[in-house]
Symmetry: C2
């Protein structure tokens, strides 16, 4: 029982019960945890085998006995040692508005839009990383208010320095961020939790390993189906079956690679809330549609949300297993009730997945932010039969919704790749990408980086743009994201026929030659992603088995380069590619190349020393990409889509001297058989001027045909 006295009183601070629960992971227990937390709801158990492969960490990364808790009737508060003046803090989920976190007050609520820099987002996560080389996760489904090294304890009071009495006379001076609070603790305030909480500390030695441990603690990253790494194309919300097919065929005529075809709300008889039933007037033959699209190499993804309209076949089944308030007139499913989750899943299996639907877009499971005074969500005081309350449900709804949908695919030994509008902590195993209405370029990009600190996947959907250049740059950025998605749901004609939304809606299409030119540029950009598909798949394999995010902040890879602490517009794609998107319609930018390795321009082969700044100008869509050198980079001949029996013809680029080997991951790409060991490692090695591919494993077919080696930048 630590007793840090407040002057004049003895407040009830408690020390944690500390347990080492896995290599490099310690649990700090304060009081009695609540029933509904991400950990209690998690998809998978910790991957102890994966954790065992990480560097040993015999002792906690900081003096965890200095952590304090305080439990009163109204709240549980956890105080964690803060970062030093030279250290920085990252994380807290998908905040679109900020990268560095020190000095901020976060209110980690699920929200459809950012609220300044409070962390309100589609993926608020009470997990943070310190540049001191560790991570901390507070397991709560409450909306935590986190004071990030911001508060000045009373004991820090000190008389002013001489000369400091000068009056401040402007509002800017008076309200400037305080300077004296650099040493403050990280304080989590869990209002409404009067009983206690568990905190998990993840050792490094660097932030990267702390992230890996956190993701492996969550069960390891998801492994998408191979086809999931291709392009997802979503249609106009009002499209009918014939029009949808026409869009698909147009895409194929233009040879724009794509693997997934998404239908927006119009497939249902009622959306907002959802009937989850095919509208026979617009889609008279869903089975035919699925088959016809599959002919074209496209798998169907259906938009939906989990507010169940009275006209839905699910309504009666879920009436007693839902919350006390409606959203858009529909039931709020009590996903914390396993039977409700099962009923929801069973319907999806019988009516949709068994009939060929390959994935879902789980929309609107987030929440309008506090700044929207007329929101639609169920309130925090909602009542659910399972006993979860509205606040916890709001934080967990997206997560539990994903689990319900995912269970269908798990049961069928069939991988899926979905979209989701909200999630929470410990989400790495779930094969869903977050997306957003927030659309500013810098926000889109920052979310990509922040996602990698928190076990999230982010899909910067391409919807609209002010110019063709911006469209191409957005498409290019998306093509270096975990998911590439084109979602112009509000325009009736395919994007390449008219990229101006107003004209598209009016049916004023581009001349045929111009359409072809637009399609060709789009094709170029998507083809580059298809070339990188085996490479990206290998990155996802590391996510799955090692917890290492396939797309990640450069800071995770180059922790010693402190200049990176502020750079939130470049990132690492897989292990070797630094991507620096053009922002908006611009086609020129500065790129900072981290210290610690050399870099080659992916397109020109030009070599640059680490630590240098490079100015790059290029046509729209050809965003700057640099290759860490030395390395081996496998590039495939681009497929138009990934068939179940697809084989990739691969040329390996050899950058620099003595590159390390590179492991491709080979399996059926569609089932969970890899979990039973049915996969191959295809190790690429370069030695003595000669490349070798060595295949080990039990998967019987060869998907990767290594047909050439090509030296670059020597």
């Amino acid at each position: 029982m630590a007793n840090t006295a407040v002057h004049g009183t003895t407040a009830g601070y408690v020390s944690p019960d500390i347990t080492a629960i896995a290599p490099g992971i310690w649990k700090l227990r304060f009081g009695t945890p609540e029933t509904f937390t991400p950990l209690q709801c998690r998809e998978r158990q910790a991957d102890m085998a994966g954790l065992a492969t990480l560097p040993e960490a015999p002792a906690p990364p900081f003096d965890v006995s200095r952590a304090r808790g305080r439990i009163t009737a109204s709240r549980t508060v956890v105080y964690l040692p803060g970062a030093g003046a030279d250290d920085e803090i990252y994380g807290f989920g998908l905040d679109p508005a900020c990268y560095r976190q020190k000095g901020l007050r976060k209110e980690l609520t699920v929200a459809a839009a950012p609220v300044t820099q409070t962390g309100a987002s589609h993926g608020p996560v009470p997990f943070y990383l310190s540049t001191l080389g560790y991570g901390v996760y507070v397991d709560t489904a409450r909306v935590p208010v986190v004071e990030v090294a911001r508060l000045a304890a009373k004991s820090s009071a000190e008389p002013p320095a001489a000369g400091e009495t000068a009056l401040k006379t402007s509002a800017a001076e008076l309200y400037a961020p305080p300077q004296s609070q650099e040493q403050g603790e990280v304080v989590f305030d869990l209002r409404g939790n009067g009983q206690g909480v568990e905190v998990f500390v993840f050792a490094g030695p660097q932030m990267r390993q702390a992230v890996q441990r956190y993701n492996l603690f969550a069960g390891g990253g998801c492994l998408p189906p191979l086809w999931g790494l291709g392009m997802k194309y979503r249609t106009w919300t009002q499209a009918d079956q014939a029009m949808a097919m026409e869009h698909a065929r147009s895409m194929r005529r233009h040879k724009i690679p794509a693997d997934m075809f998404g239908l927006e709300p119009g497939w249902q008889t009622h959306a907002y809330s959802c009937s989850l039933a095919w509208d026979a007037s617009r889609f008279p033959d869903p089975d035919g549609l699925v088959a016809d699209l599959r002919q074209l190499g496209l798998r169907v993804n259906l938009w939906e949300h989990a507010y169940v309209h009275p006209s839905s076949p699910l309504f009666e089944r879920l009436l007693t297993r839902s919350g006390d308030y409606l959203v858009w007139g529909g039931l709020v499913v009590d996903f914390a009730d396993p039977e409700a989750s099962r009923i929801f899943a069973a319907y999806h299996e019988d009516e949709l997945v068994a009939k060929g639907i390959a994935g879902f877009k789980a929309d609107e499971c987030d929440r309008q932010p506090i700044t929207d005074a007329t929101p639609f969500n169920y309130p925090y005081c909602s009542v659910f039969p399972s006993g979860i309350d509205g606040e916890q449900m709001s934080q967990l709804y997206g997560y539990l919704y994903q689990r319900s949908l995912y269970s269908v695919f798990r049961r069928r030994n069939q991988r899926t790749w979905g979209d989701v509008r909200a999630t929470t902590a410990l989400a790495a195993p779930l094969p869903f990408c977050l997306y957003s209405d927030a659309y500013a370029f810098d926000e889109y990009l920052r979310q990509l980086l922040n996602a990698s600190f928190a076990g999230l996947l982010w899909s910067p959907e391409v919807r609209d743009a002010g110019s063709l250049e911006e469209y191409l740059n957005r498409l290019a950025m998306s093509s270096f994201a975990p998911q590439l998605c084109l979602n112009p749901w509000f325009i009736p004609h395919p994007l390449w026929q008219q990229y101006n939304a107003a004209k598209n809606s009016r049916g004023e299409l581009l001349p045929a030659a111009e359409q072809e030119r637009v399609a060709a540029r789009m094709r170029d950009i998507v083809q580059l992603r298809m070339q990188l598909l085996p490479y990206l798949y290998a990155g996802f394999r590391r996510y799955q088995s090692e917890g290492l995010p396939p797309v990640r902040s450069l800071l995770l890879e180059f922790p010693a380069d402190t200049r990176l602490r502020d750079i939130d517009n470049q990132f690492l794609f897989g292990d070797h590619l630094l991507v620096a998107p053009f922002m908006g319609p611009g086609c020129e930018r500065e790129v900072y190349l981290p210290r610690g390795t050399d870099w080659c321009d992916f397109r020109t082969g030009e070599r640059h020393a680490g630590g240098s700044e490079v100015r790059v100008a290029a046509p729209a869509g050809d965003i700057p990409v640099f290759v860490s050198t030395p390395c081996l980079l496998p590039l495939a001949a681009p497929l138009e889509h990934v068939a179940d029996d697809a084989v990739f013809d691969i040329t390996v680029r050899v950058y620099g001297q003595d590159p390390a080997c590179f492991d491709l991951f080979e399996d059926d790409g569609v089932s969970f058989d890899y979990e039973q060991g049915r996969f191959n490692r295809v190790r690429l090695t370069w030695a003595d001027g000669k490349g070798t591919a060595t295949r080990t494993g039990t998967y019987p077919a060869a998907r990767y045909n290594i047909s050439g080696w090509e030296r670059v930048g020597t």
Copy 2:
């Protein structure tokens, strides 16, 4: 034990224990109330004598047994019957952003700036009014989330009407406010309160009487000193003693009426946080300053805040009686500890009030809003020795701070008139006006109206403007507020010497003749207020004895005129004057004159029927004022300031036929002796073409000399 079943579960709803506690007031008790609530901290006991004078209300204004509560470990929730489709809801304190409240989600947090329409404000108050003619107060110092007739209960689910299946395809359609929730309850969610709450229901028959009951329940309104109704002028923050005196003398040379002179932070040795000690370099002779200003008829008001700097004499005394975190490096006083409050008060009495300081401006006791991610306040998880938590303290800090300061004046039998940056429920007895940095014209005006629903006083300080016209219009609006305050704290020269802030700062003053012209316009505007001073004082007397706000929404006076439900830019000043400020620099506007009485233009005497709309154009500063007709309106010859022995020479304007009598309130204007009955009623009566003034009471001197009667608009 009411049991409103949620399908499939039996949630723990409780019915209230209902007690009639005063005429027209019922207490609904759910569980056990928390220790720290506004009611537990209130300045005064209920004014039972005042309550007894209101219309009888034998039964509650709605079926209070239908109110439900739910108490869980994390929260107390109160469900109150909602308004019907034709009814509206007002209140929730000082929200600058909205007037009608139905359909909104409020989060009633003390905040320095509005957060859309959530009610975050300097004066959030969990009290609302229904146009059905009643008020409801939820006694909590938690930050309540209130769902105002917004939620759709599960039982309201219904299949879509035929034809409703048309797809919504735009974001605007999808997120349009719901239509089906008109009948929803008003739900208060008190997160962190796991034990219970008391709710008070105030009968009408109309909203006006409900407000009166609420204010009398709080102890009745404050009665300012007579001089408090004059103008308050605040100086440049960096002014020294000589410069302050020069400003005061300039004001007197120009004969601009003023009664109070405010010093901004510069009087202290350290501000942000505060030393609360005179800076001898700038103010070598505070006693001399007070005496010299008093010579000019000006009483001194001192700016301060209650974060106590280490260099303050109070620091050591309060070290053990303050919170665990600092604000701006200063202690947060534990005002919930009576001894801390006493120490704070004693210092103010000994060092300041005993030496002639007449009032204080209690700044920064509010809180940066959630949208400011780098705020300065103590967190909700703060610990205070008294046992109050940081959330409760944040909500009550301004209120308790006022009580501490006010106690000094009560003890000395000396009235005061102060400014405060935050307050809460049951604040009517405290003689402090709220003010704000939020400065948009419509917000300023809306707060004036909303304040009258919640027992608050609002001072739309004049600080800055884009033009002389806007300055004059702002001054005119302020001159019809409970307090008239001119606060150009950031400019070194008096406003009338240069109203352009940038030029003022550079010392580029107006030509002398132009200065005189500006001063003359300001003098005109303030003189009108001085003419109305006995009339306004009578209005405050009603506030004090009847709970009726002196400046109020027209809706309180004309409840049957439903057009007023949307009109948030006109108000009633005292009992008879409708004021419709010019917005910004404009000098023309529409005015709606409520049905139920006739109206005369105050300036022209032109008569208009109630229910009509009038377009008014006038010089800047001559904002539209209309007199409800018939009535008696006493106008005084304007004084330059209100001396202790001031006598007002009054002409009574007689509007229309058979006006009701008008009661002036006469007392010493500075002490609390009126509470012992030492006051007179001076009743003005018009009958048979002749006016009479009848004085009754025990106050020995005559302050009001009724020297004439003047017929208008007959």
